[in-house]
């Protein structure tokens, strides 16, 4: 038997659960009940009691709250949404993925990417493209990581404004056609969508993509060589240069080519010199 450690009332935890109640009437009802709650962090009895006292009608005064949040997702995931259908998109706000974003200072749009992974059979490589776009769009708003010029231990890492991705063959062209099909006013098209698209994105084969988020908000989306994508994927966490030289050799670079390639990628800002991660304890 485990003894519960008495926890202090945490107003932040209460506030975060209250946010979830505002977005999800079913969750608000569950709070008022006695059952187990599907939350990233359990509430104490006292915290739950505070929330039980909320009149459910008071959570409904902003009738458009959830619709606005759905709209923000549709703007970034127009094709994934068409493949999922609106009821499944809407159900995101009742999912643990959404609650995790609320409880961990996360990004709703990036949490939606995880939600799409839970539905990968429907959305396939399209979700990979839209999730990568959401990630690099955000990276372009942040300053780039950089190591001290003199740091001899500096590692190399893929620039977070570039997302190398491997998707099923033909996904990019399929995706671009789907965007056209969504029309000039995709939000409206999606709002009027009566059921999810029946067609599915490609499944077999491989396509290698590089997606770039630019300062100012635009995106560049295109094919890249398998070697480049795999090398950048290997550098998605900070790696010592020597490790990436080995990867480059495995990918077919010969002799000094590996070093030249890394220099070239660093020159094009695809690879960044970053501080080494702190050693694991």
């Amino acid at each position: 038997m485990t003894t519960a450690i008495p926890r202090q009332l945490d107003p932040q935890r209460v506030q975060r659960a209250l946010v979830c109640m505002h977005f999800d009437p079913a969750f608000a009802a569950a709070i008022r009940g006695d059952g187990r709650l599907d939350l990233p962090e359990p509430l104490t009895a006292a915290e739950r009691d505070l929330l039980r006292a909320v009149d459910p009608r008071a959570l409904k005064t902003d009738a458009m709250r959830r619709a606005r949040a759905v709209q923000a997702l549709l703007e970034e995931y127009p094709v994934s949404a068409a493949l999922l259908g609106m009821p499944v998109v809407d159900a995101f706000f009742s999912s643990l993925r959404f609650r995790e974003a609320v409880f961990t200072r996360g990004s709703m749009a990036l949490a939606f990417a995880s939600y799409l992974e839970d539905h990968s059979a429907l959305v396939g490589g399209v979700a990979t493209i839209e999730a990568a776009a959401a990630a690099v769009r955000r990276a372009a708003l942040r300053p780039l990581p950089a190591a001290d010029v003199a740091d001899p231990r500096a590692h190399l890492q893929c620039n977070p404004r570039f997302a190398p991705r491997i998707v099923p063959g033909g996904t990019l062209a399929w995706y671009e056609r789907a965007l056209i099909q969504n029309g000039a006013d995709p939000l409206r098209t999606l709002a009027e969508l009566r059921r999810p698209w029946r067609k599915r994105p490609p499944r077999g084969g491989q396509q290698f993509l590089l997606i770039e988020g630019k300062v100012g908000g635009s995106l560049a989306l295109g094919g890249a060589s398998e070697g480049l994508v795999r090398l950048l994927l290997a550098a998605s966490r900070p790696r010592p240069r020597a490790e990436l030289v080995v990867v480059a050799h495995e990918l077919g670079a010969e002799g000094d080519e590996a070093d030249e390639l890394l220099d070239e990628l660093a020159g094009e800002d695809l690879l960044l010199r970053v501080s080494a991660p702190p050693p694991a304890a």
């Binding site: 009149d55 902003d62 949040a69």
Partner: protein, 294 residues
């Protein structure tokens, strides 16, 4: 550092002013702050600029600042009780905006401005959880922002429909003001909403607040609405001010001996629709309550 009541002596009297936020004037017929100042100088003594740094300053705010007219900076994008919200990029943006506006102080609702990280689609405004445990984190954020910017930071009581916790809103803000040693902004319309929501008299718990710390008041219109039989007030900044809000405004003016500024929040209305609102507010203020000329 001297305590707040000493520091308050250095805060300028701004008189009666108006508020704006990014793009407010894109709405047809919305108030043009400079035009109001030209037509009624005493109604537009200063501009309270609502700032969400992701959007920046609009042309009206920039033009006002460029003329050197007085401003205050009303933040719309920071959860004061979350230290992670004061990230270097956001603070740099805030400092740059302060350089443009040179505001007399910073102010804004002490509530939840966004859930999760500060990201698109995640902006909202919820009041703080009204419990003792929520006082220290809010106070710490206020002190941190004051330190980081070198400006006074006046927390404002937010609006809401679902208030959680056993403290009265005024008890909570009293405790925050003491703990942060700061001044306060009382939004009379928001307070009316709170009192009604809790089924209380408009002036309930008035004595709980250290009124000498109140530097600024907001007056704004609201409209009564109903959802499933629950009456609530929409803080719509329209031209109709609730009687409760006037009662609170009058009682607040009487008590707030260090009052420096009063904002009539009505940014999305045409000037003729809101001139009576300014006149009614002006009437309730002491005759000498105008911007100090220096």
């Amino acid at each position: 550092m001297p305590d707040f009541l000493d520091r308050a002596r250095a805060l300028p009297r701004l008189g009666l002013g108006i508020s704006t936020e990014y793009g407010a004037r894109r709405q047809d017929g919305a108030l043009d702050p400079a035009a109001l100042r030209a037509a009624h100088p005493t109604y537009a003594g200063f501009l309270e600029v609502g700032v969400e740094l992701a959007k920046g300053l609009d042309d009206d705010a920039q033009a006002w600042a460029a003329r050197g007219w007085p401003t205050t900076y009303h933040f719309l994008d920071v959860n004061l009780d979350e230290p992670e919200d004061f990230d270097p990029a956001w603070l740099a943006g805030m400092r740059a905006t302060i350089d443009v506006l040179d505001p007399a102080w910073l102010c804004g609702d002490a509530g939840l401005w966004h859930f999760g990280a500060r990201d698109r689609g995640q902006m909202l405004l919820l009041p703080p959880i009204l419990v003792r445990e929520a006082v220290a984190p809010m106070a710490a954020g206020i002190a941190a922002l004051r330190e980081a910017t070198g400006r006074e930071v006046l927390p404002e009581n937010p609006p809401g429909a679902a208030f959680v916790g056993d403290l009265h809103l005024l008890e909570y803000f009293a405790a925050v003001a003491e703990a942060a040693d700061t001044g306060l902004l009382i939004d009379c319309a928001h307070l009316a909403i709170y009192q009604r929501c809790r089924g209380l008299d408009p002036l309930a718990a008035f004595d709980a607040l250290p009124w000498e710390r109140v530097i600024e008041l907001h007056v704004a219109g609201g409209s009564e609405a109903e959802v499933d039989g629950l009456g609530w007030v929409d803080d719509d900044h329209g031209p109709e001010v609730l009687a409760d809000t006037w009662a609170i405004t009058e009682a607040a003016i009487e008590r707030a001996k260090n009052l420096r500024a009063v904002v009539v929040e009505c940014e999305r209305n045409p000037i003729p629709a809101v001139v009576p609102l300014f006149a009614a507010t002006r009437e309730r203020l002491p005759a000498d309550f105008t911007a100090a000329t220096s």
